[in-house]
């Protein structure tokens, strides 16, 4: 019988040990800690997509760079390009994340799009969905 072990981060077993910090920074002391790896990864993804390449010192290519697309025409070609761009960047910077589905929904009436990213973290039982609208 095939055996597929699932790893769980030890921090997740320690309820008092914080993993990272949540976005946005609106906690009582600015920072609001998160205590589960799943939350930390989601925040990391949000942080990644909100960072523009060139923002990080000595790490110029880091960042999803979604702001670059804000004023781009909503067209099928551009949406395909965006999908491809997100996939390749996630593969580069989040090698442990497996994209289960990446959907981009057009809302032409409001000049916005909605990115729905379903993913799982390899070798863990973590699955999650990230929605970004802009």
């Amino acid at each position: 019988m095939a055996f597929n072990p699932q790893q769980i981060s030890p921090i997740d077993f320690n309820p008092s040990a914080a993993v990272g910090v949540d976005l946005p920074f609106n906690g009582n002391a600015v920072f609001k800690s998160n205590y589960q790896t799943k939350d930390a990864i989601k925040n990391n993804l949000i942080n990644f997509f909100l960072t523009n390449p060139g923002d990080r010192f000595l790490n110029p290519s880091f960042g999803g760079g979604l702001r670059e697309f804000v004023f781009t025409q909503i067209s099928d070609d551009n949406i395909d390009f965006l999908k491809e761009d997100i996939s390749s960047k996630l593969e580069l910077y989040f090698s442990n994340i497996i994209i289960t589905s990446l959907n981009i929904f057009r809302n032409d009436d409001f000049n916005s799009i909605n990115i729905e990213l379903n993913y799982e973290v390899s070798n863990t039982n973590i699955t999650d969905t990230l929605n970004i609208e802009f």
Partner: protein
Amino acid sequence: MATTPNRDIKYLNRDFTDFRNRLIEFTQTYFPDTYNDFSQASPGMLFMEQSAYVGDVLSFYLDNQIQENFIQYARQTNNIFELAYMFGYKPKTTGVAQTDIDFYQQLPAKTISGSTVPDFDYALTINDNTTVSPSQGNSSFLIQDKIDFSISSSQDPTELSVYQISGTTPQYYLLKKTRKAISSKINTTSYNFTTPTQFTTINLNASNIIKILDIVDSEGNTWYEVDHLGQEMVYNKISNTNVNDPNNVQDSGEVPYLLKLNKVQRRFSTRFTSLSNLQIQFGAGTTKDSDEVITPNPNNIGIGLPFKQDKLTSAYSPTNFLYTDTYGISPSNTTLTVRYLTGGGVSSNIPSNTLTTPSTTDITFNNINLNQTTADYIFSSISSNNPQAASGGRGGDTLEEIRQNSLALIASQQRSVTAEDYLVRALSMPSEYGALSKAYIEKPKLTDDQVSTIETLNLFCLGLNSLGQYSQPSNTLKKNLRTYLSQNRIIGDNIEIRNAFIINLAVNFEIIVLPEFNNNEVLLGCIAELKDYFTRDKWQINQPIMLRDIFILLDKINGVQTVKNIVFNNKAGTTSGYSQYSYDINGATQNQVIYPSLDPSIFEVKYPNQDIKGKVVPL
């Protein structure tokens, strides 16, 4: 009460990566429950990397500040300028070209007792800072020393020749004098001052500033440039005339100026803040302080020190021994007229025979009541020329040159410490105060019954007479030299300025000439070579004569087969024009070397045309 736990803080981090890794390590060690996500996408890492960034920037500026504190490593122009001034080096923003300019004037002839002589009543004086314009280009030149055609001396000879004859009688003579000139132009600007301000500064904006020529206020007072405002004493030169000093006027030909040490209140210091801005700073005192000639004495040295006890432990400089706290006068309710020199640069290296137009503004006759027609003709006869091309013009100091020159200056601080310092200092005295031809310094020799001497150093010196031969320096020259050396003399040094002894020689030699050569030609070649060998510029006090060198010298001359004999004879006796001191040449000759006397002396072939004789002898 909460106490701050001890943290292991490492201070060796220098760059971003070091700081970042150390912050991660620090967080893992001391905050294991607060933060654990150290991946690059984590929002927390954003802040850690920002902190590392700040650390990196601070490290850079720390390194940069340290670097800019050392002249060896400083890179910013203004810092290198400041550091250079700290070392006492004044950066040059331009390099001036120099050349010799010949000045000519005609003189009418006059008859005295049946013989025709030049009429020196029509001699002209060309003042210092007279401009000479070139026939091509824009670089005008400036002479720094006055020309008086009526005076001729060894330091400032006048060439006299017949310019025009009428029949067989000279009608006009031509006088020629030579002066060094620098490529520069005098500029004038003025500044108004109302209420006095302590340490007020003015800025002179111009390119290629060479130096401040002078500053004069509305009342006609001269302001003196000093190295720093704490310097109260400056050298001042006054003409060696009967009015100024009747005791030394007899030496005015050899020593045209007397050197005096003056205490000046009207003073300023300058510094370049950039290549095109010269900042001039004045002191903080009031006009009640006056300029005067100060002779240091126990009552005025340290007069500005509040407590007598301080005199015991204070360090004194000969340029600031009064310790007044005004640092000179701050100008007020006056207008300062600043004359400054600009020029230099590569374009100022002008070719020869181009400096032909002297400015006649500063040329005057020495006498009045002259025949107007003749005077007009003579005045229009003034001309000039530069037989050699000007050279030395260049841009200002590069940053690397400022750096190297400043470091070199450390070794030559303005103090005479060693005997060689005194020697070089003595030889560097400007010739207008009487030029030394030769100088030699040594510690005094003790006699058998002596354990010490009053003087710590003996400076032996020689001047030149009007024929360019060695002579004993005049007392006026020695007085000037004493004043000149006093500025840099160590307080414990007692220098005795003495005359060196002159030993006059005659040379007789015998040579054998190769068969195919003309005897006279070879002989003349040998004499010319010996004349060159005994040129005064090549000899020093206490320099021995190496006979072997002279044999080799003559042997090398084309046509000489063998140098058979060289004999040196002493020539002495003032009646025949030689030194009063006779010398036993044979006794002083050992192993083919003629040694000078124990008391410092110099060998001189005084009349080479008659004292160097040669003979061709058969094989």
